[in-house]
Symmetry: C2
Subunit: 147 residues, 2 copies
């Protein structure tokens, strides 16, 4: 029940991209240094973001990366699913084969988890990168993560 390291790096890289001035690009080495991310690992991760269509890349001299759309239009969910694939909280939600066969649709565990998964995805989709770069001050969620 944890996001992997690539996703963490991707989120921080996206934060850098979201801060760029329009038309500007930033190269991977700069991101790697600023965010203390292993270069080769970052390159692979950035490719996932490009493939998912939330970042763009330009090769050659003076090339680099940028956001594919405005920061408001990119959410945490976009990044998480770009790196890790679609969120499936339980494999029975992905492959009905796992759902005990007998119940399929009317399994109460399945139903409850579907609701939780949906809530999780909505929560991730609520945060966009415009909000994030505006900064953490004035954050609407002050609840302790430990509660």
């Amino acid at each position: 029940m944890q996001l992997n390291q690539a996703t963490d790096y991707a989120l921080r890289a996206m934060l850098v991209l979201a801060s760029l001035k329009p038309g500007e690009v930033v190269d991977a080495q700069t991101i790697a240094t600023r965010e203390r991310i292993p270069m080769r690992f970052l390159l692979r991760t950035l490719r996932l973001l490009v493939k998912a269509g939330i970042a763009t890349s330009q090769r050659g001299v003076g090339g680099g990366y940028a956001l594919a759309r405005s920061p408001e239009e990119v959410t945490l969910l976009d990044v998480v699913e770009a790196v890790e694939g679609p969120i499936r909280i339980n494999r029975c939600l992905l492959d009905p084969e796992y759902c005990g066969k007998r119940w399929a649709d009317h399994c109460p565990v399945h139903q409850a988890l579907a609701g939780v998964q949906s809530a999780l995805r909505h929560e991730l989709a609520r945060h966009n990168f415009a909000e994030l770069i505006r900064g953490a001050k004035g954050n609407q969620s002050t609840r302790d993560s430990r509660e």
Copy 2:
């Protein structure tokens, strides 16, 4: 971003325990057969539930497992954390060492993820086993998990 198989088994085992009449116990073999769970794996998983204090066990002839409290008082969150340990969506939420050192508290990614994690835990805590055994009909969440 997925619950592991042990958790899935635990949830289904707990569903069996929640259906017991007061004073009744059920042995692991019965659960394993009914829920198609590998016996030895189930035994280990049940031990986690016992250690976490949400199930009780009784050894010897006629022994077995039961809920430690009423079904209303056991939530999905209890089971998930009993099996997988505390939910930490990102390791930076667990170990500040990972949080880039420079920002610590004022990292916007950290803050947003803390909010998401909190929402996830609350959502898991909303579902208890009394509700689950009452059945999936009349479920309050009909949202498609794919949305």
